[in-house]
């Protein structure tokens, strides 16, 4: 069993045009920077991307947008991204906006083999249009199906060659869920350690969910909103 690849390009070697991808991260926090670069380099097109956000103009998924590689985005918040807006208005880009908790739970459902889940989020709104509703107790829920994604591209802090992953702080976000949801899950990590180096009580994603792993170097980790307390 060798899950270790030398770099992003080799780990993504079989990723084709028209693929459905999940990409971890919240804003620019915890995004798989190296996988995104490799996608740009490969030039694969007509991608469907499931990601909470769509990056900014010159970083994250914005790089794929600039390159016209994305056909459809499934996201909860697409934020400040001028190129995104342009492509959306021109009809080049299809966008499906869904509640953030629904996005997360549809990933969880895939990773846990549950074909669908019920959530109250969006009931009575346009999100519910065309969706099945059902009352449990005194509340109405929407039926939401598990995501199906060919690949999940995630970023972890540490991983071992069995694919066990550990995340750091709020860069965890959607990463473990997508790691569990992908048909082929590719994890980029800041540090690759030996099996046994990670505490078995504290692994966030067991290696059974992870198919390929590689070490990313020189992470940019761009900050979207630098808010600080001034030192007095």
């Amino acid at each position: 069993m060798n899950k270790v690849f030398t770099d992003a390009l080799s780990a993504l070697h079989d990723l084709q045009d028209g693929t459905t991808l999940m990409l971890g991260g919240f804003g620019l926090c915890g995004i798989p920077e190296h996988c995104i670069s490799a996608l740009v380099q490969k030039g694969v097109r007509n991608l469907t991307c499931i990601s909470n956000n769509a990056g900014v103009d010159d970083f994250g998924l914005g790089l794929l947008l600039q390159n016209h590689q994305i056909r459809k985005m499934i996201a909860s918040y697409v934020g400040e991204n001028a190129e995104f807006e342009r492509q959306l208005l021109s009809g080049e880009l299809e966008v499906e906006l869904i509640p953030q908790g629904t996005l997360a739970t549809r990933c969880l459902a895939a990773g846990y083999g549950m074909p669908a889940i019920y959530t109250p989020a969006g009931y009575g709104t346009e999100v519910a249009e065309g969706k099945e509703t059902r009352v449990f107790g005194d509340k109405t829920y929407l039926l939401e199906t598990a995501f199906e994604a060919d690949y999940a591209l995630v970023k972890a802090w540490k991983g071992d060659r069995l694919g066990n992953l550990v995340f750091r702080a709020t860069s965890r976000n959607f990463n473990p869920l997508m790691a569990m949801a992908g048909k082929i899950t590719i994890a980029e990590v800041e540090e690759l350690v030996e099996p046994g180096d990670l505490d078995p009580d504290h692994i966030h994603v067991p290696g059974i969910y992870v198919h390929r792993i590689f070490v990313g170097t020189n992470y940019e980790k761009r900050i979207e909103q630098r808010t600080v307390r001034a030192r007095s």
Partner: protein
């Protein structure tokens, strides 16, 4: 008339010791500045943090540590990180005691619209639909009227909804509003604001007797 801090301070009176609270972007964030001394309130950030601390000292920003507004923040002793499924799991399960968020419109039956303006670029609902569908106690912090001077407290929302009949309280620069089966109920007036002024700026059905007290803070 309340300023933004006055609105936040008014909402902070809803806090109770031991509460878990989710604060939206904008005025709601300011509520954190008015947590009473000695009261233990834990802030939940839906990107995966319980126990959110203040902004970091300059130079100590950690790109791996942000809040749902994508701002760099810090942790506190006892903070916990978790993934987005657990984050919305605890929200959906009603474990968050109080949610404060902004709105574009609130209707007299408690509907809220805060995510989309037809014809304008839509950025998405983020976690707002999950929060309003699930939180046990939802308070809206907003300006009473929009930039065109039109009431944001309406008989029915005109904008696409975020959630149905979910708002329990609205705090604006003019006062504090609850709900009864008829519609909005004026609970408290902002200092110096008369009931006629409030009525004339409220399009939704409003019960207001003029005897409502002025807002005071502890």
């Amino acid at each position: 008339m309340l300023d933004k801090n006055g609105i936040a301070r008014t909402i902070a009176r809803e806090l109770r010791d031991g509460y878990y609270v989710n604060l939206g972007i904008g005025i709601p964030t300011l509520v954190a500045n008015f947590i009473p001394e000695g009261m233990d309130v834990q802030l939940q950030s839906e990107n995966g943090l319980l126990g959110m601390g203040p902004f970091p000292w300059e130079g100590e920003e950690d790109p791996d540590l942000i809040n749902a507004g994508k701002q760099t923040i810090t942790t506190l002793p006892g903070s916990v990180f978790f993934d987005s499924a657990m984050s919305f799991g605890m929200i959906r399960a009603g474990k968050v005691d109080l949610t404060v968020l902004g709105a574009m419109e609130v209707s007299q039956n408690g509907d809220i619209a805060n995510w989309k303006i037809p014809g304008k670029m839509v950025k998405g609902m983020g976690g707002a639909m999950d929060l309003v569908a699930s939180a046990r106690h939802i308070v809206v912090a907003m300006q009473h009227v929009n930039k065109a001077g039109e009431s944001k407290l309406l008989p029915a929302c005109t904008l696409p909804l975020t959630g149905l009949a979910c708002v329990q309280k609205v705090v604006t620069e003019l006062g504090v509003f609850g709900f009864d089966p008829q519609g909005f109920v004026l609970l408290e007036r902002a200092p110096g604001v008369g009931v006629e002024h409030i009525k004339s700026h409220t399009l939704g059905f409003l019960t207001a007797h003029g005897s409502e007290p002025e807002i005071t803070w502890p």
